[in-house]
Symmetry: C2
Subunit: 304 residues, 2 copies
Amino acid sequence: MRRQRSGLIQGIGDDCAVLRVPKGHEVLITTDFSLEGVHFRRDWHPPEVVGHRCLTRGLSDIAAMGGEPRAAFLSLALPPKLQQSWVDRFLEGFLKLAKKFNLPLAGGDTAESPGGVLADIIVLGSVPKGKALLRSGARPGDRLYVTGELGGSAAAIEGLIRGTAKIRPEEYPQHFHPLPRIQVGRILREKNIASAMIDISDGLSTDLAHLCEESGVGAEIRSEAIPRAKVGKEQSEVDLRLALHGGDDYELLFTAPTNKRVPGRIAGVPVTLIGHVTRYKRMVLTQGGARHVLKPQGWEHFRS
Amino acid sequence: MRRQRSGLIQGIGDDCAVLRVPKGHEVLITTDFSLEGVHFRRDWHPPEVVGHRCLTRGLSDIAAMGGEPRAAFLSLALPPKLQQSWVDRFLEGFLKLAKKFNLPLAGGDTAESPGGVLADIIVLGSVPKGKALLRSGARPGDRLYVTGELGGSAAAIEGLIRGTAKIRPEEYPQHFHPLPRIQVGRILREKNIASAMIDISDGLSTDLAHLCEESGVGAEIRSEAIPRAKVGKEQSEVDLRLALHGGDDYELLFTAPTNKRVPGRIAGVPVTLIGHVTRYKRMVLTQGGARHVLKPQGWEHFRS
């Protein structure tokens, strides 16, 4: 029963996992489903990609709090006729990403599935007491930033649904290999830069609306400033519509007071100023000289 | 952002829940699926029962560590055509049991289900550092005990599968209203009575095998001593087979050194001596004067 570096005292093999979090830390918990036909399709997504994306969903939530991931738990229900090689490759993708963050797989559950592959990922993390970056900390005047580029994952999904052109995973890494922004979140918290933060899993317009609602503020963003993903063989920029409303990006949206210096790149990831927080509780999109009311129109997961 | 008595700093409404655990405590985590057609059937189980049993699965694992439950998280995927009243009643059963333990529902996930109601319950608990009651602490000579009575839930499932007689929930409370043994687990830990513990969710023979394996020991139990549930209109004792191998009981199986005084009743729950731990790594069942090798034959969840 030796303590591991991760703080894991007892992993798989007892009624519960037992963990220590560092002294003076609070515990973070997030859970996310990855369901076949809802969040992925076996004919679209190689098993490694499904495993990778499953864990990314959980890690991205920890990143959005400025937290340190400490342990992952996977509940996995499998159809009786599923090939073992699919499961092996799923776990390979899952564990490869876990290894990148020294994250132990500390428990979970297994069951027979009544239909399709069903996964629920739970990630436990921690953050120094009172330092979690909540959605509710934005104040009027704060500036609004996003990491990376937006809309790339939604472009891949649109292409897969349309089915007319081949969607090559290597040309759409935002969809097939999204990287949770753990380091960026940690730096924003450690350097006390961000006042509020959320991950863009439902789409910029919807997640900005969440942040505004929790903070009791509004926002104004400039359409020209929104960093659009470059996708496909030509590496062409995605439509503004996808960058605004397409979800599944796992980038971070955060606010920072005007007196904070925000670097243009954090842990190698571009950081872009896209607008500011207002006291009026509505969202506005400016395009050239025009101003439009912006409604949350985030991506709904594709239907099977 | 006021701290609740439970230690919950941030519940539903952010990327993660944020919790504090008491100083000097370790964190316990458990996750359990409750899947329609695998763990329950909508034509057999009223929605309140499904909600109640779903949370019991998680709480029972916390009980088996001697832990205090601190927060619950529910991932719930629902078929698009499910009636809202079913969901309301499911949550009613869930929250009624949660209230009994002052347990906040602190987060989770929701999704559309590709087939059937899919729930994953996560319970976070805590226990003073180094005090978790693991499966691995049993030593040769220790005595073996169980709480409550066994086989009642499996008797209900057999009756439901057979379908010949009406299975009335009030005559099978072990199946329709199992109570997690949180207080018993806590007392066994606080009074330093138990050396190892597990909950009987897979059936006595299977869970005893788990405990023996993790402790590197064997066990001998007396069939006459196993407390059998009384079920049905006649309140007749279930078969030994169901008490031995039927799962889903959510009672506790624990070991205690011979120098510990173990009360016959803890927190109102009967505690029964059923055998002892041996150094030989096998399980033996005695019946009258005869000795049989006992194999794990725990209950496999019914198929849809």
